[in-house]
Symmetry: C2
Amino acid sequence: MADAKIGFYYKNVCEDVIGEEHGITPQQFDEMAQETAAATEEVNRHREEGLIPYRDLPYNEAYPKQVKEAAKAICGSCENFVVLGIGGSALGNIALQTALNPYLYNLDPKQRKGPRLFVFDNVDPMQFGSFLDWIGGGLDKTIFNVISKSGRTAETAAQFLIIRQMLLDRLGPEGYKKQIVATTDAQAGTLRTITDAAGFHSLEVPDGVGGRFSVLSPVGLLSAAVCGIDIDALLAGARAMDRRVSEGDFFANPAAVNAAIQVHYYYRGKPISVMMPYSYALKDLSDWYRQLWAESLGKCRDLDGREVFVGPTPVKALGTTDQHSQVQLYREGPNDKVYTFLQTEHFGRDLEIGSCPPEAPELGYLAGSGMGKLLNSEKLATEYALVKDRRPCLTVLFDRICPETIGQFIYLYEVTTSIAGVLFHINAYDQPAVELGKEATFALMGRAGYEELAEKIKPFTCPDQKFVI
Amino acid sequence: MADAKIGFYYKNVCEDVIGEEHGITPQQFDEMAQETAAATEEVNRHREEGLIPYRDLPYNEAYPKQVKEAAKAICGSCENFVVLGIGGSALGNIALQTALNPYLYNLDPKQRKGPRLFVFDNVDPMQFGSFLDWIGGGLDKTIFNVISKSGRTAETAAQFLIIRQMLLDRLGPEGYKKQIVATTDAQAGTLRTITDAAGFHSLEVPDGVGGRFSVLSPVGLLSAAVCGIDIDALLAGARAMDRRVSEGDFFANPAAVNAAIQVHYYYRGKPISVMMPYSYALKDLSDWYRQLWAESLGKCRDLDGREVFVGPTPVKALGTTDQHSQVQLYREGPNDKVYTFLQTEHFGRDLEIGSCPPEAPELGYLAGSGMGKLLNSEKLATEYALVKDRRPCLTVLFDRICPETIGQFIYLYEVTTSIAGVLFHINAYDQPAVELGKEATFALMGRAGYEELAEKIKPFTCPDQKFVI
C-alpha cells in the first residue's frame, strides 16, 4: 500500500491532439523546458537559502510528534473539534477532512474514529449562531482550535472572543482554558500573548511559511490527526513528491511541466484555470488550490517593480455535477480556459447499479455496472468532448485516495506555484492587496485612529443613488 | 413582513467612481438603455407567445397545491428526504435549503421542522456509499424524490437503480413504491413509464421549462415544502419581482440594468462574472446562478448561425472567506472581472462579540460589537478596496433573507439571463454541447450501438504517453 502514487498526464494539451491554434507544439515544449528548468533551479536555490521553509515541512520531526501528542490528549474527552481560522488556517483543514474521511463523518458515529469536526472560516451570525444553538450544553466536550499567526485577523479574533466569553461564563477561568488549543506564533503576537496569559495548550505556526503553504505544519495537521487521519503517511507522500519536483529534468518533473503549461496558456488567451475533480472527496482540494494559486500569482507588480497586473483566475468545478452546469460553457464558450481533471483510478469501494425495470430497457447499459466505472467514464467522455472542441485538458491521476497520494498532491501544487511564480517573475509569497481592506474594516468598525478613512469610504458605500428598487 | 425587498445597486460601476477606462459613462448608459429596453420588450413578447413558460410558474395555482399535499403526506412518516437529481434538478433545491433553513438543520433535531434533507447530484461511490452505510435500516423512514424530465440522465438513473434495488430487496414490491416520489414528465419518457408501472406518487416537470429555470416548479418546491419552507411566500416574492423586471423603463428594471452591465463588461475585457455573497445562507444561490448563467449564455453560434463562441464565465465566491483567498487576485490581478456582492441588511439574529482580554487591547475595537456588523463592514471594506483599484462592483441588497426576498432574487436572475440572451443574440434556452459527452459516456459504458465511438475515444483517454510519474 505504501507505493500509491499520483501521475500527471498532459497529452491532451499537445498540438497533435487539439490542433495548432490551441495546442502546444514540440518546439514550444522544448523552449518551455529550458526556461522552466532554470525556474526549477531557482526555486531549489531559494530553498537552500532558507527563503521558502514550507519546502522542509515534510521533514520536520518535532511537529508531527507534538501534533500527535496533542491529538491523543484531545481525543479522550472531546466529542467536537472546532477550528476557528480563515484562509490558509481553514482551507487545508477542510480539504484533508473531505479527502480522507467519510462523507457523513459528522452525522454518523459509526463512520468516525474521532470527534466531529467543524471548521468556521467566516463571521456569519446566522451560521455561527446555528452552531452555538446546537452545541448548547456540550461546550465542555468541545475543543476549539483557534489558528492565527498574529491573532489579529478580525474574523478569527471575533470568533475567538465570542467563544472565549461563552466558555468563561459557563466554565469559569480554570475550566475554560482546557477547551482551547491555540495554533499561533511561537514567540510574539496577540494570540501568543493571550495564550501565555491564559495558559492554553498551544502549537506553533512556523516562521516564514505563509498561510496558504502551511497545511503540512501544525496548522493543518492537528485537526487531521484528531480526526484519525494518518499524518505520517501524509508527510511521507509529500516527501516522495519532493524528489520528483526538485528534479532538474523538465520532462520528469510534474511541477515543472504543470507550471510551464499553466503559464504558457495564461499568456496565450487562457487566463482561467479550471480544476475539476471527479471525486467528491477531492472537491475541497480545489478550494485549497484556489487560494494557493490566486493569492500567490495575482500580483500587480513584478520583481522589478513594473506594473503587470498578472495572475490566472482559478475556478473550482466538480464532476459529474458540473457537466450539467458548466460544460455547455466549457465546450461552446470562449476557448479561454485550461482544464485540470483530478481522477482516481480506484475508489475504496464500489456500488453495483441495480437491475433495470423491464419497461425501461434503455437503461439496461447501466444495470450491473459499478458506480465508479460510470464516474470515470463520465470523466473520459467529458475530456473527449472538450478535446474535440480543441480545449486543453490535463489530468492528475490518483492510484487511489489515501494520505500518501493527498500528501503528494499538496506538495506537487505548492511547488508548481513556486515555479509558476518564478516564470511570472513575481513574488509568490506575499499578499499586499489584503491590507487596504483590513484597514477599511477597522475604519468601519470604529477603531480609533481610522476616522479619516471612515469618512473617505462613506460615499462609496451608501446606497443613496443608482439604486433600482 | 410582507414587504421585504431586494434592491440592485450599481453606482460602483460608474465612470465617476471607477474612472473612464473601466467605468460606464452616462452616454454609454443611455445607449445601453435603448438597446436593453428593446431586449426587454422582446423577452416580454417571447412570454406572450408562450415561448418561455418559466415566466408564468409563480402564477401556477395547481403546482403549489399539489406540492403541499405531497409534502403533508410525506412529513408524517419520514425522517429523511433524499433528492436524486443533477443540474437544474438539484441546484435550486440545495440553494433554497441553504438560504432558508438553519446551517445545522440536518444535525440538530431542534433546528428543523421537517425531515433531514440530502441532495445527491453526483455518482461517487465513496460519497453515496457513506450515505447508504448511514441510512442502513432506516430505509422505511426515508423518501427518495427522483427528479428527471426524461429519466434517461445517466447519473440520476444510476442512483435510482441502486436505490430501487435496495428498496425492493428490503421492503418488497408493495412496500418499496411508497418510498419513492418521482418528479418527471406528465405524459412520456423513461421515468414516467417506470412510475406508472410501479405506482409511485408523482409530480410534474413542466413542459418547455429547462432544468435551470425550473426551481419554482415542483422540481424545486417539493423538497422546500417538505423541509418547512413557505413556498407560497417564495412564489409571492417571484410575482413581486415580475412586475419590476417586465418594466419597459430601463432604469426602473433591475434585470435590464443588470443584464446590460454584464453584457457591456463581457465585450470590454471582463469576461468573468464573480458572485460573492456576504452570507453563508446565500452561498448556494451563487452555485444555482452559475448554472443558469453558464448554460444559458455559453454558446458557439448566434441566432443567425454564425460562430461566436460567446459567454461570460460565472465564478462563485464567498465573503468574508474569500477575502483571504481570492481578493489578492481580485485587486491586483488583471482587471477582467465584474463583481456582484449579495448582502443582507438584517440578519435574523446577531451575536455579540465578547469582551477583550486586558493583555490584548488591540482587539478592543471588536469587543461588544455584533458579528453581523463586522460581516457587513468587511463587505463594504472589500468593495471600497476594489473600487479604489477601479474594479466594477454591483450589489444585490436584501432587506433580510426570507422566502419573499429569495423568490425575488431567483426571478430577477432568471429574467436577467433571458434579457442577456437577447443582448448576446443567442438561444438562452438550449444546451447542445451536453450531447457529445452523453454519447461518449454511453460508448464507454458499453451501450450497444456506440462501439464505433468507443474506438474513437480510446487514443484520447489512455494515459500511454506524455505522462509524468
